[in-house]
Amino acid sequence: MNRTVYLDNNATTMVDPEVLEEMLPFLKERYGNPSSMHDFGGDVARDLERARMRVAELLGAENDYEIVFTGCGTESDNLAILGTLAYFRDRRHIITSKVEHPAVLNLYRKLEREGYRASYVPVDRDGKLDMEFLKKSLGDDTALVSIMHANNETGVIFPVEEIGRLCRERGVPYHIDGVQAAGKIPIDVKKIQCDLYSISGHKFHAPKGMGVLYIRRGTRIRPLMYGGHQERGRRPGTENVPGIVAMGKAAELALQNLPAEERVRALRDRLESGILARFSNVQLNGAKDARVPNTTNVGFEYIEGEAILLYLNEKGIAASSGSACSSGSLEPSHVLRAMGVPFTAAHGSIRFSLSRFTTGEEVDYTISALPEIIDRLLEISPFWDSATKQCRPVTI
């Protein structure tokens, strides 16, 4: 079968044709350096600033100079965290959640090895933050709170405004990894009261290799790299102009298309309910209510996620798994483990993530393709009795 049904949009998205069209001249004839003193480069600088304004609008930023272009979401997260700690050197306590992306979590672990005290806010079975833990963790020594806006695996949205109020009251710098929220839900950095907000272009139909860090006016932060004056010295280096222009256009389109996310939500719900209704060995991982509209994570019990992915792949369906075997690690996703998802379901978890380009026909095709796959793998599983359609006794 030659078709591809792409349901892995939290990994990356297709480049919107309109974005590509706007980007192409900057890969061909408009190659000037925006820092140059001639019109050939100066004109490009104006396009770069237009992109900055578009991104500022997507995030609800007050000024376009609050937008700093980076190379990716990971760089934005690292700049936010390390840049803040470089300024507040006397504070040695940092807070994040247990379910962050590795771009934050692995950096926090490194910082712990270097002497910082880190508090990891737990989540409940639905993947929701333990706000009491967060409140109690905040102290006079806290240098930074870094919490994601929406979880990449489950889509669960965190109470970023409530955290913003808490941080503001305590005078603690507040960073949000918004990579999985941008383009999916409205963002208003002023309302959230965050100091720093990271996004990544390729998650909302721009090409890979572009990130942004929103830095609220007046936020104390030091750069990671030193060089020229670009990005007001906060991220020096010649700008990736085609990427920035593309990201600006993608931000504009994402803002325009936010109302259309309700259509994505309806498709996601159709897929989710179709799966949950069809199988007795499946459960939803993550809260049903507070989620970005494009993501669903389901755990199939007694079968393994990589095997499901490989069988889906045979049918042209691209999805993702939090199982250990698909990642090369030996334990299932840290997010699912932090949520307390039982091992019986964690190993068989599958994430389907849609985009505005996903069609109803693709969703229906996926629902129709799954039974053969799941039934086949259950038949192979030593934990499933095909005759009784029930689980055999499982030793845990």
Binding site: A324, C325, L330, P332, H347, I380, S381, P382, F383, I396
Partner: protein, 282 residues
Amino acid sequence: MWDYTDKVKDLYKHPKNVGTIDNADAVGEVGSIVCGDALTLYLKIEDNIIKDAKFQTFGCGSAIASSSALTEMIIGRTVEEAEKITNRDIADYLGGLPEQKMHCSVMGREALEKALADWRGEEVAPHEETEGDVICQCFGVTDPLIRKVIRENNLKTVEDVTNYTKAGGACGSCIPKIEDILNEELKKQPASAGAEVKKEKLPLSNIKRMQLVEETISDVVRPILQKDGGNIELVDIDGKKVMVALRGACANCLVSDVTLKNLVQEKLREFVEDDIEVIEVR
């Protein structure tokens, strides 16, 4: 995506011998749902010949393929022939497995051992899992199993052991113990194992020689010296002359010449080239 061979892909897509055997003569169960890998192997054995084999697997693509391969390899064989099949044979049958997936082939081998023990009426629990210390508490991997897999697969690093057994792959608290076991097993390796390696790798380019010297010092020589509080530093390589400096307890040892010639040079000649020469730099 994993770089699976066509054989692996074919077998996870179209696994053979899936299912159970009613009134099986032997059953071997390994793994658990917690570990993320499990395999149950059913055998029908008549006149000492494995007439039929079926399996059920909870696992990834390579686990399904390894299980399927195992059944194909043993049907029609005598019990004695089947007993000789190693996890490496299963991996070879598949045209190879990614290193991180080698534990799938080990699981197949374990299930076969368990099933044959069951057939003989022996204690069904495998000796690897019940005897000896449990080294990795997360995945229940024991000392004897780790040693066996190291020997059979000529493993050299802790990462290899994790890829082949899963031991050390979760909390990691057992990694120092795995390292100790690995060092003990490396010391026991017969010279013939090294000779095989050497034979395969000749003739050597300069780059290959340097790489092998580094690996041998790091994986074979240094662990032995460290046991006695010593260490070794590779200073330079000029053709077949290898300059090293002894460190730690070895630096002031009265018999450092013996260490250099009888251990360092000997091991380099064993694993790299027959005429390699070791020179001490102080």
